[in-house]
């Protein structure tokens, strides 16, 4: 066994997500498992935030990766990145479940879950693959005015529509839309480099 010295070695580029999807389309389970190792933690966190129930969130992750397995050949990299594709699937499935519940139930869950804010505590960042990007997104979110950050978090982390946000925050719908538009423009500017990597 040689001495372990991480300071003298260079990183090796991993396979891109899009390459992995191509392999999944060929029936490669390891490629599916690699995609899972990169994205499942974030998708599960998203499912938990939207649904507030671990079992249902896990079902969403399972359904998402099964859809990837079945439809990998239909993935079109010119339309979206793999991350975007996965989030779209997971979010769509989570929202389907959420909207099948009664509104009152969701309000109770939201009140119990305290789900509206992003956990910015340091450490325990298990998904190294996205760690740097995660930090930049959090920084960009933290730089938003509180009312803009709130609408973004309610829309993207809790799956509320603009109308539902208006109801929940007792804010006119027009104001919610304006805040969201302003926030998205600021985020696009702040995260320009990350977006370039995905396009």
């Amino acid at each position: 066994m040689q001495n372990l010295d991480p300071t003298h070695v260079a990183p090796v580029a991993p396979l891109r997500d899009a390459d992995l999807v191509t392999r999944v389309a060929d029936g490669d389970e390891i490629a599916l498992a690699t995609l899972y190792s990169r994205h499942a933690g974030t998708l599960l966190a998203l499912g938990l935030r939207i649904l507030g129930a671990a079992g249902e969130a896990e079902d969403v992750v399972q359904e998402t990766f099964l859809q990837v397995w079945r439809q990998a050949a239909r993935y079109d990299p010119t339309r979206s990145s793999v991350n975007s594709w996965l989030v779209l699937i997971a979010r769509s499935r989570a929202i389907d479940r959420l909207r099948s519940r009664r509104v009152a139930e969701r309000i109770v869950l939201a009140a119990e879950g305290g789900a509206g804010e992003v956990d910015t505590s340091p450490g325990a960042d298990r998904n190294v693959f996205f760690a740097e990007r995660r930090a930049r997104i959090r920084q960009a979110l933290a730089a938003l005015p509180a009312e803009q950050r709130e609408v973004i978090e309610l829309a993207f982390f809790r799956g509320l529509t603009q109308s539902e946000i208006a109801l929940e925050t007792s804010t006119p719908l027009g104001t919610v839309k304006t805040r969201t538009l302003l926030a998205m423009k600021k985020l696009r500017t702040a995260l320009q480099n990350d977006l370039r990597e995905l396009l």
Partner: protein, 282 residues
Amino acid sequence: MSEREDALLERVLQQVDHPGLEDPGLDLKGDERRLWREYGELAAMLPVALEPVEPPADLLAGILARARSDGDASGAQTATERDPGRIAASPIPLGRLRPRALAGLAAAMAALSLGLGLWAGSLASERSRQRESIAELERRLAAGAGRDQELIHAQTELEHLRSVVTSAGVRACPLRPWGERPQQPWARAVVYLDGSHHQFYLVARDLEPCQQDSRYVLWLMVDGKPVPGGSFRPEKGVPVALGAEEMPGSTNGAFLTLERDPTVQRPTGPPILYGEGAEEML
């Protein structure tokens, strides 16, 4: 552009609200299409800000099991199903940091190789099969242990391997051929990572023998950087077992390269096999 941008952005948000809506992005051209893509990607990127949640250990296994049953139903086959010979039994020489052919151990190690070559997705059932394989190995080893010092040594190694791969919390990182045109498309390996005891075990098979002046080097991915984990020279057709008792706890992947200098501190060639992420065995 601002009014147009606002209109595009509103449509993106409508899609966020109602994921089932038809994607109008396809009808857009030039800057508008680029802007649509950017906002779409931004909307999907924001959840990355959430603290990832560790999925339960059996979730991936469930997904892969269902994927396999899909394949059975549709006729689609996994790579292993298409070529079951790839994981057929064959002998593994055991020897820390130096492969060794052990003819007497060949048949016994074959069963273990079968178990170790499978992907971690079926780890629950895999573990049960491994136990059976190991029990068989032990029976065979016990029968021949008195004959040969090498066999005794191999038994010790086997015990060590068993203790590593069956410990609670051990993670399996499968390595597979790397790149668009893999140099060795048939080669396979699994690295078992025991973070609790800072040990790892590599089991590789179907690696091509290297030239006299080169060796395979195992690199552990530690915080996104490769760290040398040992070198070896396989024999043709003989799988390899390689272990060490010094592994950074944050190891989360591994790969193999061919190197002329086995003491090299950074990889100089492309990965032959590559694995990212590791799944718990239980």
